[in-house]
């Protein structure tokens, strides 16, 4: 393993970090373009594989970048890729945080904070719906999604219960032969 690859990993992901408005899902096409087309680090199949693995794990979806670093250069690659994708965007968030605290009594900032609330809410519904479109292909999976949503709305209990139940329903549906 050479230092050159680590430098390259750091450079590619630090730049991606600065443009990643909307998080991992929004920049996924650009990550793929860089990793597969521009850098030639892996082929499409390998990339798709890493995508699937990172979605099966908990945590921010940006963790996919860590996994790419790990595949390329082991633990050092994992650390470099993770720090490169985190430091630029987190530094900006830190500056924003200080600005929000410092000018919290200003009217424009209060209006700004007021204004982003409905947008954030609308976008969370949107991401729920687009996740359902990707993962729900039959009555069973739509049912799992809707019941899980109902559980979150009506219960204060940990949603992990609903998620565990959904996982079990998936396996049961497989054995009943109703999962497509």
């Amino acid at each position: 393993m050479s230092v050159a690859i680590l430098v390259q990993i750091a450079r590619v992901f630090a730049v991606l970090s600065l443009v990643s408005i909307g998080g991992a899902n929004a920049v996924l096409p650009e990550i793929r373009r860089q990793v597969v087309d521009v850098q030639g680090w892996m082929n499409d199949a390998a990339f798709a594989n890493l995508f699937a693995i990172s979605h099966a794990a908990p945590g921010p979806n940006i963790i996919m970048v860590s996994l790419i670093g790990w595949q390329l250069a082991g633990i050092a690659g994992l650390l470099v890729a993770t720090l490169a994708i985190m430091i630029p965007s987190c530094s900006l968030a830190f500056i924003a945080s200080r600005a929000v605290t410092r000018w919290s009594d200003r009217r424009w900032l209060q209006l700004g904070k007021e204004g982003v609330v409905p947008v954030a809410l609308g976008l969370i519904v949107a991401s729920g719906v687009s996740m359902m479109r990707t993962s729900d292909h039959d009555v069973v999976t739509v049912g799992i999604s809707l019941l899980t949503a109902a559980f979150v709305v009506f219960s204060r209990r940990n949603p992990l219960w609903a998620l565990a139940a959904g996982t079990c329903v998936g396996v049961i549906a497989l054995h009943l032969g109703v999962l497509t």
Binding site: I21, G22, G23, A26, N49, A52, I53, S54, H55, A56, A57, P58, G59, P60, I63, W70, T82, M86, P88, S89, L92, A93, A96, S97, R98, K113, E114, G115, V116, P118, V119, A120, L121, G122, L123, I124, A126, S127, G128, V129, M131, M132, T134, S135, T141, I144, S145, T148, A149, V152, V153, N158, P159, L163, G166, T167, C168, G170, A173, L179
Partner: protein, 195 residues
Amino acid sequence: MTIANPDPLSVARDNPASRLVSKRELFLGFLKIGLLGFGGIAPWARHVIVEERQWVTDKEFAAILGIGQILPGPNTMNAAVMLGDRFQGIPGVLLCLAGQMAMPLVIVTSLAVVYERFAAIAEVRAALIGAAAGAAGLVLGTALKMFQKIKLSPMPLLIAAIPFLAVGVLGWPLVPVVCVVVPLSIAAAAWERNA
């Protein structure tokens, strides 16, 4: 693990910045969020931060997520930075980020090692399909619960429908939609205050 017992006065206030969340609480809270964060972090972040530990209100949480959304980087990671900074400054930021990333990094590399062998098993595949459907419902339910708690007035409610329709239904790219809707929403908030 000690679960925070919030001072009811500070929770009742709209901006509970006075409620002090310790470094240990921040780290453990985000460790839990990272560990639970299947299918995306936001629902779990809300569950732990708003529902379980009451560090901030639903409205404050939505504002933090919204600000996190218009900055580069995952909105939940930006939210972790802002919450860490609010309660414990730079050490808080580092603890929140480390907490959020620690378990997912260990888990994702472990999964990568065993993936080839397990992906072929039909039960594993079915379980993942069920979990993915559940995760989608989790995100939807979290949004609906936030709507229920925040009780937007009609105009912001109408504005919330725009990003939902544009991104969720029509599949438009996120960045231009956000660039248009955020100024619109701020203008609406200003208009509503003056009205």
